[in-house]
Symmetry: D2
Subunit: 151 residues, 4 copies
C-alpha cells in the first residue's frame, strides 16, 4: 500500500465520468488519455479559437488543461463522497504555446485528507519534436458534504 | 509624470487593437470595458460551455480573463515596438465561479523596462450582488526585436 | 458583524502570545507593531546577518516577515482551539531589499473555516522615503485537534 | 553541448564564491554540498533560533534555503559579467519542518538569456528517514551592467 493508493475502487471510471461533465474540456477539445492513481494525462489539438494576440495557444487554455490534469490527478485518490475544488495554482510559461498538439500531465506530489498538492507539465508537439512549454504547481481540496460540489 | 505614464501616446487604441486580435477573448465572449494607463477591466457573461464538472465557471476561463487583464494593463505602459508575454501567474480561487457575469480588473503594481509586476481580481455578479471570487499575481515581460511577438 | 469578525474575544493577546513564541521573529528582530481583526503589521531593522550576496535583505528574510504577517492576520480570526499553518505562498520581489527598516503588512482577503486567503506587502524605508519592495499571496490553514499545532 | 552548458568555465568556483558572500546562509548554517551545471544542493542543521510558534523550522528559513538553491542553480549557467536576482517564487509546504537536518535541491528547468526558470525541493531528515517537506517554483533574472548586482 503506497501513499498513492486510490480510496475508491472504481477510481478510473469515476474520474472519467467527472471529466466528461467538464464542458470546458469538450469545448477546448481536450481528451483524457490516461488515468492512473495520482496521475492524469490530457491532450488537445491546436485550435485558433483559443489563441492570444500573437497566435500562440492562450495561457488560459494551457491553464485550463493543466488545472484539470492536476484536479483529476487529485480526484483519483479521493473517497467516493468527495468532490475536488482548486484552491490555487501557479503557472510558469517557459516557452510560447506553439505547436500542433498539447499534452498536459498532472500528478499528485503529496496526498492528504483535505489538501492535495499536485504538479503538472505542458508539452507542445511542433513538427516532429516535443518541448516543455509550461509547468504548474497546484493545491487541490477535497470537499465533502456539499450538494453543489459532488463527483 | 508618474510611474504609470504610458510611453506610447496612442496606448488605448494600441491596446484595444491588440485585444481584438486575441481569438481566445472573442471565443469566451470577453469585452474590454476600460483601458487606462496601467489598468484594464474586462468582463464576460456566464456561458455553460466554459464550466467545470459542478457547473461553475472553469478556473481556466477565470485565468484567461485575469491573465489578459494583467497582460494588457502592462501593455498600456510599453513602448510602441514592444509585445507582451506572460512569464508566470498565480491564481487563488476564493469562491466558486457562480454568477451571471464576471469582471476581471488588472493593474500594474510595479512597471519596469523588461518586467512588469501586475495584480488582478475577478468578481462575479450573482443576482443583485457582486463578490470577489479570485485574485491573480502575474509577472509580464516586454519583448522587443522578435517578429513573432509584436503588438 | 462583518466577515472579519474575530471568533476569539481575546484575539489580540492570543495573537501576540503566539507571535512571541516564534523564535524566528526574535532572531530576525521583527516586532509586532499592530494586531487588528484580519490585519497584522510587523517591522524589522536592516541587519547585515540576513543579507544575500549583493548586500540586500535576503528574499528569505522578506518571506519570513510576510509569511508571519499573513499567518497571524489569519490567526486573529480563528477560534480558540485552532492553530495556523501555511499551505503555500507566492512572493514577488519588485525591488531590491535596500533600506534601514522593513515593514510587513498582512491582511485577510477571504476568511474561511478551513482555509484563509491572505495578502501582504513589504515596504523598505531608505533614507527619508518608503517604497514597496515585495508582495505576497498566501493560503493559510486552520488546524484543530492536533497536539503539535496549537495556538 | 546541452542546454545546461555553463557559460563561465570556472562556474563552480564562481558560484561558491558568491554563495560565501551570502551572510544569510552563514547565519542559518547552510552549506553548499554540491554545485553542478544547473544544479545546486544545500543543507542545514535544525536550529531552534529559526523556528515558528510550534517548534517547526520556519517557512521563511525553508524559503531562504530553496530560494538560494534556485538562484545559484541559475547562476551556474550565467556569463561571467552577470549577477542573479530573484523575480518571484512560490513555496508549497507539504509537511511541517520537523527534523534534524534539511536538504535544499535546486535545478534549472529552462535556461534563458534574461529569465531562468527553476524548481527546488526541501527534504527533512527526521530520525532515520527522509521526507519531502516543501517544493518551490522560482523565476530568476540575469542582471548585467549594474554595479550593485554583480557576481
Amino acid at each position: 500500500v503506497t501513499a498513492l493508493e486510490p480510496r475508491a475502487p472504481d477510481f478510473e471510471a469515476r474520474t472519467r465520468a467527472s471529466f466528461s461533465r467538464q464542458a470546458m474540456m469538450a469545448t477546448l477539445g481536450v481528451t483524457a488519455d490516461r488515468v492512473a492513481p495520482g496521475e492524469v494525462e490530457l491532450s488537445m489539438p491546436f485550435d485558433a479559437r483559443f489563441t492570444q494576440q500573437h497566435g500562440f495557444l492562450h495561457a488560459g487554455a494551457i491553464a485550463s488543461g493543466l488545472d484539470t490534469a492536476c484536479g483529476f490527478a487529485a480526484f483519483t485518490l479521493m473517497p467516493e463522497d468527495a468532490g475536488v475544488l482548486t484552491v490555487e495554482f501557479k503557472l510558469s510559461l517557459l516557452a510560447p504555446g506553439r505547436g500542433q498538439r498539447f499534452r498536459f500531465s498532472g500528478r499528485v506530489v503529496k496526498p492528504g485528507r483535505t489538501l492535495v498538492f499536485t504538479e503538472a507539465t505542458a508539452h507542445a508537439t511542433d513538427g516532429g519534436s516535443e518541448r516543455l512549454i509550461a509547468t504548474m504547481s497546484a493545491t487541490m481540496m477535497a470537499v465533502t458534504g456539499r450538494d453543489d460540489v459532488k463527483g
